[in-house]
Amino acid sequence: MTTSTVTTDPDLGLPEPRAAAGTGRRTRGAIPPVGVILASLVVLLLVAWAIAPGVFAHGDPRMADLTSVLQPPSAHHWLGTDRLGRDVLTRVIHGARYSLLIALCAVVISAVVGTLLGVLAGTLGKVVDELLSRVFDLVSAFPAVLLALLVVALAGSGTLNISIAIGIAGVPKFARVVRAETRLVRNADYVRQGVLYGATRGRTFVRHLLPNVLTSIPVLATIDIGTTLMAVSALSFLGLGPQPPLPEWGLMLSEARDGLRIAWWPGVFPGLAIAVTVIAFTVVGRYWQRRFEGRFA
């Protein structure tokens, strides 16, 4: 009965019909689940490194060993040694603690302050909203690195200070999302009509508004760990964060850059660690974001 077939251009990008719509959204542009599993494993490994570096690497990451300076990668030193003879792998593993902790602190600062301000802007009415929105505008007018430089210039360099600096720079990001989300939820039918079902303002806020606004924060924060880690390591690369001999990734890169002509490994591997960490957190975060959007769309 069927004489021939024809397949329309698969790249037309038209909305898919109902039958296929469910799967269409999810697969489209998604990092394949294999990638997500891999990324999750990387995240777990990094967390393990940060909690118990001693399990994965023996030896002191700070102890110089001038008998084995700038050894290329070998069976004994998988990632080689730096110019003070320290094992690069050991330093990378121990560095996870510093790099992740600084980034995490910054993200927590951004998320907590940003959420608070965002909810305030979204609920307290027009004047507060206008005012806070302008402040968000002003702060986000400055590049994060420049803002952090300003904070460092005012408060001095140091590990805690760059956490705070990057944390402040990230506040508007969260505040804006939360503000938009708050306004969206506030105007959603189930909140606006909640009053019909006998809910008081307070109850609506606590039972419906807040939970629906806050659910997106952990996901957002996970994605943000990646970008924040980059900003943090940039500052420590510039020498404004932790000081030698701490094994922080950005700092390690900075220390290695003078010897790059002779030895590439002390400069390449910490950077690779940063890149892999950022990718892993971004992939995991985005995956949950999509799952999450799929659930509530």
Binding site: T2, S4, V6, D9, P10, D189, Q193, G198, F296
Partner: protein, 582 residues
């Protein structure tokens, strides 16, 4: 209006069909969306594809211009477009067909025209693409095309964007882009669905003119009444398969398939008053999936006047006024949404409110529900002030008035299961934990669902099931008045019929008064005892539903009633349905 159908020009029968489709199947990634569909369209003929959502009617129509979507696998015994075998078409061939041989008119021009392109340049795009006229004449021809679809002042309109035009003009502009290259075929996909009924009539007339001028038309619609206005032949689709094909008179007058009969019987209208719209016992309604209507008696008339007590109104509204300011405080204009509106709702009465978009009927619902404070006037609930009361005073009485919204899904907290949705609205009754569970199950049963639905998330339910949950929630605190704001407008006709029947049953069982707001005169005529006609914020006419609709006094009501497409054979159809199911 029913005289619009134009007889097919003699002689066109012998001409080769514009499109010829035999045994067409369309699949997506292995899933079949359309199977074994056959039809032809000839010049000067209007063929309608009719079906509910998911019937595959749009995909079928779009396959004629190679736009059935990414990954669509099209198989057919015959697929001839413009006298050529379209099965071998490549993208380049399709592009030659689109716009030139076949023009596409879609629903809602606001989203179907590029919002960043003026309507004039959209028409010019077609003219230029297909080199219809020499370049120098393109601009002038575009104005001519706009004028030909009845666009007033085309010179001005050509420079405007879709959002600057009214709904009717916008749709005309869309039609202008479709017919600019003078195509032999127009594919009209729900061309009037988003429009007000008076505008719908104008657009249908315009499409009928095109058919009369010899253009072939493939009309896609869910609405048999609309289709009956201009179609010569009708193809009824269901789940991607043809249920029945025939001339309009055959399909409407002597439907052969049970599905078609049920579809026809489900259409609410004056003739269906006091009757059930859905059939009990026919349990192939995959559309819904409720466990069946509550009442198991088929022929019992619904909505008898028993228990209605107009003398003792439960709600009395008087002199309601509400204005909205558009734009900024200084330069914005003021719209009057409600202007001196007064009415009352008797105990157990069904009050219908009809009007076109922007007529103020939704504002009226908001005031009634105590969500919007009127600038003047008062609503009395059981004789005591309601609209002007403080929220503190209102809260203990809130449960008396409940809402069934148009889009139930957005009215459920996305994190909530059906159990929590209903449970939250049982709070005013202050029941114990087990009592809440028992009552929730009881409510679900009343709306034709059961306890299996308790722990489902509303988003996993079908449209009809969601609306049933919304009704169960509204009934939970034993309200005296249910406000239904376009409550069945988004539902397919069969599901709409079931929900309308359910509302009728519940009203009879509980004596709950209904305020039924709808743009659909047929629906209101079916359910309401009395009706208010809204126009620009005022009630232009009110009274018994038969009096108002059958013998309208106000000019606007007359126009409104005249614009409603009615099926010539609807009465007889329903008689035959009744006879076939004693």
């Amino acid at each position: 209006m029913s005289t619009t159908v134009i007889p097919i020009q003699p002689g066109t029968e012998v001409a080769e069909p514009l499109v010829e489709v035999a045994d067409l199947s369309i699949g997506f990634h292995g899933a079949t969306a359309v199977a074994g569909v056959s039809f032809e369209v000839r010049a000067g003929e209007c063929v309608a594809l009719v079906g509910e959502s998911g019937s595959g009617k749009s995909i079928t129509a779009r396959s004629l211009v190679g736009l059935s979507g990414p990954g669509a696998e099209i198989r057919a015994a015959t697929l001839r477009v413009d006298g050529r075998d379209a099965l071998g078409f490549r993208e380049r061939d399709w592009r030659g067909v689109r716009g030139r041989f076949a023009g596409l008119v879609m629903q809602d021009a606001l989203v179907s025209l590029d919002p960043l392109q003026t309507v004039g340049s959209a028409v010019e795009q077609v003219l230029r693409r297909h080199a219809v006229v020499p370049r120098a004449e393109v601009a002038q021809r575009a104005l001519d095309v706009l004028a030909s679809v009845g666009m007033p002042d085309p010179g001005l309109r050509a420079g405007q964007y879709a959002h600057e035009l009214s709904g009717g003009l916008r749709q005309r502009a869309l039609i202008a882009t479709a017919i600019a290259a003078d195509p032999a075929l127009i594919i009209a996909d729900e061309p009037t669905t988003a429009l007000d009924v008076t505008v719908q009539k104008v657009i249908l007339d315009l499409l009928a003119e095109q058919v009369a001028a010899g253009t072939g038309m493939l009309l896609i619609s869910h609405d048999l009444a609309v289709v009956s206005q201009i179609a010569h032949r009708i193809v009824v689709l269901r789940d991607g398969e043809v249920v029945e094909t025939g001339t309009t008179a055959e399909i409407l007058g002597r439907p052969q398939a049970a599905y078609t009969r049920r579809l026809l019987a489900a259409i609410p209208s004056a003739g269906s008053r006091g009757r059930r719209l859905s059939e009990v016992g026919v349990d192939d309604s995959t559309d819904d999936g409720g466990t069946g209507p509550v009442a198991q008696v088929t022929d019992r008339p619904v909505a008898s006047a028993a228990g209605v007590d107009v003398e003792r109104p439960v709600v009395e509204a008087s002199g309601l006024r509400k204005t909205y300011r558009l734009g900024s405080r200084r330069s914005g204009s003021v719209t009057t949404a409600l202007d001196d509106v007064s009415f009352s709702v008797g105990r157990g009465e069904v009050l219908g409110i009809v009007g076109e978009s922007g007529s103020g009927k939704s504002t009226c619902a908001g005031v009634l529900l105590g969500l919007t404070r009127p600038e003047a006037g008062e609503v009395l609930l059981d004789g005591s002030p309601w609209a002007t009361a403080t929220e503190r005073e209102r809260r203990p009485l809130r449960h008396e008035l409940q809402l069934v919204p148009q889009d139930p899904l957005s009215s459920f907290d996305p994190r909530y299961t059906v159990r929590k949705v209903i449970g939250e609205n049982l709070r005013p009754l202050r029941l114990g934990k087990t009592a809440v569970a028992d009552r929730s199950v009881d409510l679900l049963r009343q709306v034709g669902l059961d306890e299996r639905f308790l722990d489902r998330h509303p988003r996993t339910l079908s449209g009809g099931q969601r609306q049933r949950v919304a009704i169960a929630r509204a009934l939970a605190p034993n309200p005296r008045v249910l406000v239904c704001d376009e409550a069945v407008s988004a539902l397919d006709v069969n599901v709409q019929a079931q929900v309308l029947d359910l509302l009728g049953d519940l009203r009879e069982a509980h004596g709950t008064a209904l305020v039924f707001i709808s743009h659909d005169l047929g629906v209101v005529h079916h359910v309401a005892d009395r009706v208010l006609v809204f126009h620009r914020g005022s009630v232009v006419e009110q009274g018994d539903v038969d009096d108002v609709f059958l013998n309208p006094q106000h000019d606007y009501t007359r126009r409104l009633v005249a614009a409603v497409p009615t099926m010539p054979t609807q009465e007889s159809t329903q008689e035959s349905t009744r006879r076939s199911h004693p």
